[in-house]
């Protein structure tokens, strides 16, 4: 196992993998995360451009849907 793979495993354990992270983004948009979930998600979003984009895009989608008369 290369160093990179080991690092990914450790990061996943501490900071969630992308599937978990996007799941928590979904839950957060509906407004119900525990304290630790919030911390772990924030840390993940700082490290992962894709999940960060996912968060921004879904906020945008919600905004546009809600703005519809």
């Amino acid at each position: 196992m290369s160093l990179k793979k080991i690092l990914i495993k450790i990061m996943d354990f501490i900071l969630l993998d992308c599937k978990q992270a996007t799941f928590l983004v979904t839950k957060e948009l509906e407004g119900s995360l525990t304290f630790w979930e919030k911390i772990r998600l924030k840390m993940h979003l700082l490290n992962c451009k894709f999940c960060y984009n996912f968060n921004v895009q879904n906020e945008k989608i919600d905004g546009i849907l809600k703005a519809t008369p």
Binding site: I8, F50, I64
Partner: protein, 148 residues
């Protein structure tokens, strides 16, 4: 048509001769047609809900984004694009399975509480989050594909 004669031949012993051969064959044919459309409907339902999540299912990068399908940077600040974006969004929502789109719209547009949605669609709250998660992944990917 051929199948009608085939199944008629197979079950020829059960034909009691109460009705004419023609009526008998037509009734078998009718049933065949109904079966066909029922199967077709089931197949389509499966197709709709067979959206593959954009994450690796195994390997070193399990549950990480598949790069080609990962969220890119959107530039939607431009006000001119608003109508177009909205039209695409509506189209993408229509691609969700009926259940998923109902949950999605109730939750976001009607701002229903989780309990209300769960009661309406008859699902558990864990199931609600899974559906919302899938729906958001699917809608986002569809919008990106159509728009950018």
């Amino acid at each position: 048509m051929q199948e009608t004669f085939l199944s008629a031949y197979k079950s020829k012993d059960s034909f009691k001769g109460k009705s004419s051969e023609k009526t008998w064959l037509v009734s078998i044919l009718k049933r065949r047609i109904i079966d066909y459309y029922r199967k077709e409907a089931q197949r389509q339902e499966q197709n709709i809900s067979s959206y593959q999540l954009p994450f690796y299912e195994s390997g070193d990068f399990v549950n990480h984004w598949i790069e080609q399908r990962a969220p890119k940077n959107w530039d939607t600040d431009n006000q001119i694009h608003y109508d177009e974006f909205h039209r695409i969004l509506q189209y993408c929502l229509s691609l969700l399975s009926p259940k998923h789109s109902l949950v999605f719209i109730m939750k976001i547009l009607d701002e229903c509480s989780s309990e209300e949605v769960c009661n309406e669609v008859n699902i558990s709250s864990a199931n609600l989050w899974t559906i919302m998660h899938r729906a958001r992944l699917q809608v986002r990917e569809c919008v990106e594909k159509k728009w950018f």
